[in-house]
């Protein structure tokens, strides 16, 4: 690939459509090997409820079509930093409509995961914050502790805003408690008391499984980087 710097009357050049980032996605993102089959027909962009086709407008973000073209154009940080990856609701309309049968939604999810692993994900994106809090919660208890998760999210911006937000939604919380959908006792987990929510029994085994999975993943990535 030629990336020549601007010099004299030579026109300033941009990066070409090399395959380097495409290969990275193919190797590191689940189902990424499908991406090169995109014919840029735009069916996914038209179907996506969370982005506007063309990549700008009220919903903002990049349509799957744009993202795939950006990958071909080697725009690595723009792709992995895209909010679209975190806006995706996995409705899979894109994958259903794709004439090249590309699992578009799966690739978008895979890109989000890869973006997170590369530290390029938009840190403050609410969906990312929720996702990370949810994962932390599940990893800790083996299944989700909704009271704890809700409280963590309420207080994510500090104590003052947390109290204000909690008061604002207190009616909903009370209704949930009345309907037996939420137990305040579960908040005991915040101070180490497993009373309202006990989680799973084999927490140690779960951690061992996850640790092993991480080790395998790391070995795979290092192996790939090695060649």
């Amino acid at each position: 690939m030629n990336t020549t710097a601007s010099q004299g009357d030579t026109p300033a050049t941009t990066k070409g459509y090399g395959n380097a980032f495409l290969h990275e996605v193919e190797n590191r993102v689940g189902q990424g090997e499908w991406l090169k089959m995109c014919t840029q027909c735009g069916a996914c962009a038209g179907a996506c409820p969370t982005t506007d086709s063309g990549g700008s407008g009220t919903h903002g973000g990049h349509s799957p079509q744009s993202l795939f073209m950006m990958i071909r154009a080697g725009q690595r940080s723009d792709v992995l930093g895209s909010e679209t990856l975190w806006n995706c609701m996995s409705c899979s309309d894109c994958a259903v409509l794709c004439p090249s049968r590309i699992p578009v939604a799966d690739i978008i999810q895979g890109l989000a995961f890869y973006a997170e692993s590369q530290g390029l994900a938009p840190r403050q994106h609410p969906n990312r914050v929720l996702a990370m809090a949810f994962w932390e919660n599940v990893e800790k208890h083996g299944r989700v502790n909704e009271a704890e998760l809700g409280m963590r999210l309420n207080f994510r911006a500090g104590f003052g805003p947390g109290v204000a937000h909690s008061l604002a939604i207190k009616d909903i919380a009370l209704k949930l408690i009345k309907a037996n959908r939420l137990t305040p006792l579960a908040l005991g987990s915040l101070v180490g008391l497993n009373v309202g929510h006990t989680g799973i029994r084999a927490k140690a085994e779960l951690r061992a499984i996850l640790a092993k999975a991480r080790a395998l993943e790391k070995a795979r990535d290092e192996g790939e980087n090695g060649d």
Binding site: N2, T13, Y17, N19, S66, R72
Partner: protein
């Protein structure tokens, strides 16, 4: 040839028996030919009726038959009873009774029209020479049964396919090829886009395979390093002067297939594509040569021999454009070709950046789709965008364009840029004016006022034949007849492949076979005793003597008070069919009009109009369906001279151009002339012909 035995078969079905006096028609046929065998059947096209004719054929009672029934444009297959039987159809149903008002039956007009119709049809069986009543055999263009070969001009894939098709049909073919080897443009390529499933990769060009099939065929003669320098004659007896390296020869041919291929659009004219200024901006054809030079190794760019690491294919270079000096047409093959050429690079090194810049990717059919997918699978990048320019940096060409998906302008340096420039069919005049002066960048032997020649010298010999106005004068003069595949303005000369329209290899080879069938029409129809009619209708219209013999059979009213008849010369393909359609709908023209087929050339038409007035017709209407062009202009000119020459009112001649959809209007056109002529009265020249 055995003695001619004539017969006339009258059908009395479809109202013919009720509205016509068949017995009187029988008498009139006996008057023309006392020895004629006369038969009658209530439905000639029924199995029983056909058996009647078959019986006569079997017993040797008939060799030439006049079938007096429906229009010759109906039941063609039904009455094609025997190859040896020469048939003339008297159009009594559509041509006379259908749509004719009943009052004409009472006053005898219908019957007189039928009598003329019968006489005109019978005339073609005898082809009476002027001034005699001696019947002669129908004239056959090929003298004494000698069968001439078909001349195929151009030994590319199209020409070879055409020659093989001719030879496989049992006829001889002669290929005249300007260069030293067969294969044409395809012979200069490394591979071809796939022609067979699964359409996933580059195939061998197939040149060697086709060449050996051609060389092995005993009916095909190949003349290499040769060119057609002059061509004259007509279907069945063309004479071509062929210049070979050391000699000129002249031989007769039955028909000519022009498969002269294409020449490249002069890329020098595309200034914004940087072809002039940058040696690393090349055309698709020039890339084929680079690839062949690389011989499966890394492909090196022309300027400094560096191995190409990134290549941009620019689609529609100077094509599908509304800019001055560029073409608005699409060459059809270049999208597939660029995918193929990107694979040349990917197959040597998958990491080479191969980008195709397009505005519409045309890869039709499952073949195209599958090949596109194969390209995607190999990692070819397709960018939907709008090309701006190519400039030159020290590193090589720099392309500027807008990526319409990313919605941004990109300026990217490439090692090599390949332009998908147009193919220009050699049978057509150049679409734009000749090239401007071009600097001698690429070729040391390049001169300023000879850019085309120099380019051709560089790319092998893309123009493999001299300017066609010299070699094949008829084709260069007029564009091919719209709507009729292979047909040119000149009967017996057909075009094939990319000589007439930009197309890909698969289309061109198929086109070659189609052209071969078209070229075989003249000799094959001649063998069956018919003159060749270029539109494929056996209307025997090209033989003007025959049509004159027919019109002389018309019995015209005598005396100064009788309203004169008019002759309608109707285009043999469309207009005669339109008249049948009108009759089917009950729309009929005046019973004082007689219809004959219009000859193909203005000279013949003019002669026929003269004869019509001499015979006593009060007016002539020429109704044709020819596209605007030289033929129509010449016909108008020829007809305009006649009134002055014969001292007649100009209103006695009318000239109309119609289409098949005008069939309801055509009877009105004829009737207008009939009433004009009725007002003018009989014309003074009648009877001046020696009958």
């Amino acid at each position: 040839m055995a003695a001619k035995r004539t017969a006339c078969y009258f059908c009395t079905g479809c109202d013919l028996g009720e509205r016509l006096d068949i017995d009187a028609l029988k008498v009139s046929s006996k008057r023309v030919d006392p020895s004629i065998l006369v038969r009658e059947h209530e439905a000639l096209c029924s199995a029983d009726g056909l058996n009647l004719i078959r019986g006569d054929i079997a017993s040797g009672a008939v060799s030439h038959a006049c079938i007096a029934a429906c229009s010759p444009r109906f039941k063609q297959d039904t009455f094609a009873l025997d190859e040896a039987l020469i048939v003339s159809r008297a159009n009594l149903r559509e041509g006379v009774v259908w749509g004719r008002p009943m009052e004409d039956d009472a006053n005898g007009l219908t019957q007189s029209m039928a009598t003329d119709q019968l006489a005109m049809a019978m005339a073609t069986l005898y082809q009476t020479a002027p001034g005699t009543n001696a019947p002669k055999t129908p004239s056959v263009p090929t003298p004494s049964g000698v069968e001439n070969p078909i001349l195929v001009v151009g030994g590319g894939m199209t020409g070879m396919s055409a020659a093989l098709a001719v030879a496989n049909a049992g006829r001889r073919a002669v290929i005249v090829e300007k260069s030293a080897n067969l294969g044409g443009a395809m012979a200069r390529m490394r591979g071809r886009t796939p022609q067979r499933a699964p359409y996933s990769g580059i195939e061998d060009t197939g040149v060697a395979e086709l060449t050996s099939a051609v060389e092995a065929h005993e009916l095909i003669t190949v003349l290499l390093d040769s060119a057609v320098v002059a061509l004259s004659g007509a279907p069945g007896h063309f004479v071509a002067r062929i210049a070979s390296a050391d000699q000129h020869s002249e031989s007769p041919y039955d028909a000519v297939i022009q498969a002269t291929g294409w020449r490249p659009f002069d890329a020098h004219r595309l200034s914004r594509y940087g072809y002039r200024d940058n040696a690393d901006v090349i055309t698709q054809m020039e890339l084929e040569e680079l690839v062949r030079a690389a011989d499966f190794g890394p492909i090196k760019r022309p300027s400094d021999g560096r191995v190409v690491d990134s290549v941009l294919f620019v689609q529609c270079a100077g094509q599908r454009s509304d800019l001055t000096g560029e073409l608005d047409s699409c060459s059809g093959h270049c999208c597939m070709t660029s995918i193929k050429q990107a694979m040349y690079f990917k197959d040597t090194n998958p990491d080479i950046d191969t980008t195709v810049l397009y505005s519409d990717l045309r890869t039709p059919g499952s073949r195209g789709e599958d090949f596109l997918r194969a390209g995607l699978k190999k990692g070819v990048t397709f960018v939907h965008g709008r090309f701006s320019s190519i400039t030159t940096a020290p590193s090589g060409p720099v392309a500027a364009f807008t990526d319409s998906i990313l919605d941004e302008t990109r300026t990217i340096a490439y090692d090599l840029v390949v332009l998908a420039t147009a193919m220009l069919p050699t049978a057509l005049p150049p679409p734009v004016e000749a090239t401007t002066a071009v600097a001698a960048r690429k070729h040391p032997d390049f001169t300023e006022n000879d850019s085309e020649t120099a380019l051709d010298a560089n790319s092998g010999d893309a123009t493999r034949h001299p300017p066609l106005s010299d070699a094949l004068p008829y084709i260069g003069d007029e564009p091919p007849r719209g709507g009729f595949a292979h047909a040119t303005a000149r009967p017996g000369i057909v075009t094939a492949g990319s000589a007439v329209r930009a197309m890909d290899l698969a289309q061109a080879m198929e086109d070659g076979v189609g052209a071969a069938l078209k070229a075989l029409q003249p000799p094959v129809t001649a063998d069956t005793g018919f003159a060749y009619q270029p539109m494929g209708i056996h209307e025997q219209a090209t033989d003007v003597d025959r049509v004159i013999a027919q019109l002389r059979r018309c019995i015209l009213p005598q005396g100064d008070d009788a309203p004169p008849h008019v002759l309608v010369l109707a285009g043999p393909h469309t207009v005669l069919s339109a008249l049948d359609l009108a009759a089917r709908d009950g729309l009929s023209h005046s019973a004082r009009a007689r219809v004959l087929p219009l000859p193909i050339t203005p000279t013949d038409t003019s002669r026929l109009v003269h004869e019509a007035f001499k015979h006593g017709f009060g007016g002539v209407s020429v109704i044709h369906d020819l596209p605007r062009g030289d033929t129509v202009a010449a016909m108008r000119e020829a007809l305009a001279d006649i009134p002055a020459l014969l001292d007649l009112e100009p209103e006695r001649i009318s000239l109309h151009c119609v289409t098949l959809a005008d069939f309801r209007r055509i009877p009105e056109l004829i009737d207008t002339l009939v009433s004009t002529v009725e007002t003018l009265g009989p014309q003074p020249r009648r009877g001046s012909a020696t009958t």
